[in-house]
């Protein structure tokens, strides 16, 4: 406690310098925290997004990633029937994603249409109204942006059109549907106008022949069974791609490898800045106080005590600057996240910066170790100060 008080008072001798250094450390620590959150946060957030509705496995057309192309898989009812017959499968539901149009007064509004199987859907959460029933071919569910675009309320009847004729700009297939509820689509980007109907309705609006879907979502009875079930499905359905959450996270990581590289580079740079800041300040402080240090050594204060005192001052700078930096890091992460997640095509529920306790602990530990290392050189400088020569040079 005595050493701490001594350290705090020493730092307060040059208040402005100390405050500026702490701010510098805080900015570096904030950057480091943001980079730690960015490097691990993307995949964590993506994995959470994929399992948001509890479906651990996706089946998509051969050679494609889910919703990555407009390719569809056929004979959906048979496939779903086979999947549901497997004991380890708790639920299996097909989804068809396509472009549809909604009529508003005299104009058409472009919408994203989802055809779903209400008894096994993993795409939305009901916000208000009622959910779609299994065979309710009149029902439609709207996202808030879609409702705003269409000026639609609960119970309103809408006309959805599919397969727009480019010559006449008129839909060749149309269907009147009734708004049953407003939902939040898990994978929608911010402001995406999406509508959902039962799978057969959307299949008709999408046109084309056959019983088709973009992907099938599968929920294993237990999370622990998911890897074994994934392997089994690969054997049973060789004509389809079968992805576990881990597989999709791996693909995602490969696509965003530059984010990780960026975070490592910026994180390392922030650490170097921290080391330089702390080391420079402590070196200046030690040089200013060489006379004082020589006196301490002359009156019998051990080298270890002098080293400890310099390291304590470094640690204090690091701790106060680091705590400030952690707060700053969380605030800037939120701001940066709001910018990045507004990029088109990214799910609104997705986060680049996830403020998890382990990210904060990791960043805080790295900053603390860095602060300790930064204090080593000035501490060594203080410990080896020649007593007699320093006192002589300090003499009048």
């Amino acid at each position: 406690m005595r050493d701490l008080m001594w350290g705090i008072r020493s730092l307060l001798r040059r208040r402005l310098r100390t405050v500026l250094t702490m701010l510098g450390i805080a900015v570096s620590a904030a950057l480091l925290l943001d980079m730690v959150m960015l490097s691990g946060g993307i995949e964590k957030s993506f994995a959470e997004l994929l399992t948001a509705r509890g479906y651990q496995i996706r089946l998509s057309p051969k050679g494609t990633l889910p919703f990555d192309t407009e390719a569809t898989l056929g004979d959906v009812r048979t496939t779903i029937g086979r999947l549901r017959a497997i004991p380890a499968v708790a639920e299996a539901g097909a989804v068809l994603g396509t472009s549809v149009y909604g009529r508003r007064a005299d104009s058409l509004v472009t919408l994203v249409g989802y055809g779903i199987q209400p008894d096994a859907q993993g795409l939305y959460r009901l916000e208000s109204g009622s959910d779609i029933a299994q065979h309710d071919t009149l029902a439609v569910l709207l996202s808030r942006p879609a409702a705003e675009l269409l000026h639609a309320g609960l119970g309103d009847t809408l006309t959805l059109l599919g397969r727009l004729d480019p010559q006449t700009v008129a839909g060749t297939i149309s269907r009147d549907v009734v708004v049953r509820g407003f939902v939040s689509w898990v994978y929608d980007y911010r402001g995406q106008p999406s509508v959902g109907t039962t799978l057969p309705v959307m299949q008709r609006l999408a046109g084309g022949a056959g019983d088709r879907a973009s992907l099938i979502l599968v929920k294993a009875r237990n999370d622990a069974d998911a890897p074994a079930l994934t392997a089994r499905l690969r054997q049973d359905f060789p004509g389809l791609e079968v992805y576990s959450v881990a597989d999709l996270v791996r693909f995602f990581k490969q696509r965003l490898v530059y984010f990780r590289q960026l975070s490592y580079i910026l994180g390392t740079m922030s650490l170097i800045v921290s080391v330089l800041l702390i080391s420079t300040l402590l070196t200046i402080t030690v040089n200013e106080r060489l006379g004082e240090i020589a006196t301490l050594r002359a009156i019998g204060i051990a080298r270890a005590t002098v080293i400890r005192q310099v390291l304590i001052e470094g640690a204090l700078l690091t701790i106060f600057g680091g705590v400030l930096g952690m707060m700053l890091g969380v605030i800037t992460a939120r701001y940066l996240d709001s910018i990045l997640t507004s990029f088109p095509g990214l799910p609104a529920a997705f986060s680049f910066f996830v403020p998890r306790p382990e990210s904060i602990v990791t960043a805080a530990m790295v900053v603390l170790v860095t602060g300790g290392l930064a204090g080593l050189y000035p501490a060594w400088l203080a410990a080896r100060a020649p007593i007699a020569a320093t006192l002589r040079s300090d003499a009048p």
């Binding site: 005595r2 001594w6 008072r9 020493s10 307060l12 001798r13 006379g291 004082e292 006196t295 301490l296 050594r297 002359a298 009156i299 019998g300 204060i301 051990a302 080298r303 005590t305 007593i387 007699a388 006192l391 002589r392 300090d394 003499a395 009048p396």
Partner: protein, 210 residues
Amino acid sequence: MNGAAVHAVRGVSLEVRSGEYVAIVGPSGSGKSTLLQLIGGIDVPSRGTVELLGTRLDTLSDRKLTQLRLTHLGFVFQRFHLLPVLTARENIELPLAEAGVRAAERRERARELLAYVGLEDRANHRTTQLSGGEMQRVAIARAIANRPALLLADEPTGELDAATGREILSLFRRLNQDGATLIVVTHDEELAAEAHRVIHMLDGRIRGEP
């Protein structure tokens, strides 16, 4: 300076007995401060030896020498060299804490010492709030905190006015009467006159010695 060694002190032989009050006088550059530093184990002679309480200082490791300075020697400097971030009491407690004295005992000893040097009402003042004379008295209290066998003072009145210098002189007299062994480097004739023995130095040698 063509790289040749410069000897600040040469051919000096000096023995100081317990309880003695010795003053070392001489012009600037005569080697008196260097001699004091050699005696105090904060400088090392290129030749010759310094013995303190039967122990040759050159045989001690840095750690043991530091410990010896802490427990057997007291230093008083011309510029006081108190820690400005600590109070008068905390400055006095510093060598006590380093010697492992418990907090309550430290506090009591610091209180005694502050009373001894007449500064009991200044215990919680930062050194920057003290006058030169007060700072030197705190420095003397710090120097004798661990009850050293030998007190070394380098120009202790050099930064003080005549009246304050006389206070310090009186304090040294009292310390010696109470049993402290003193070696004082000074230009101050009045301070030197108080000593049992005055050693005159010139060009690194004790005057009168070969």
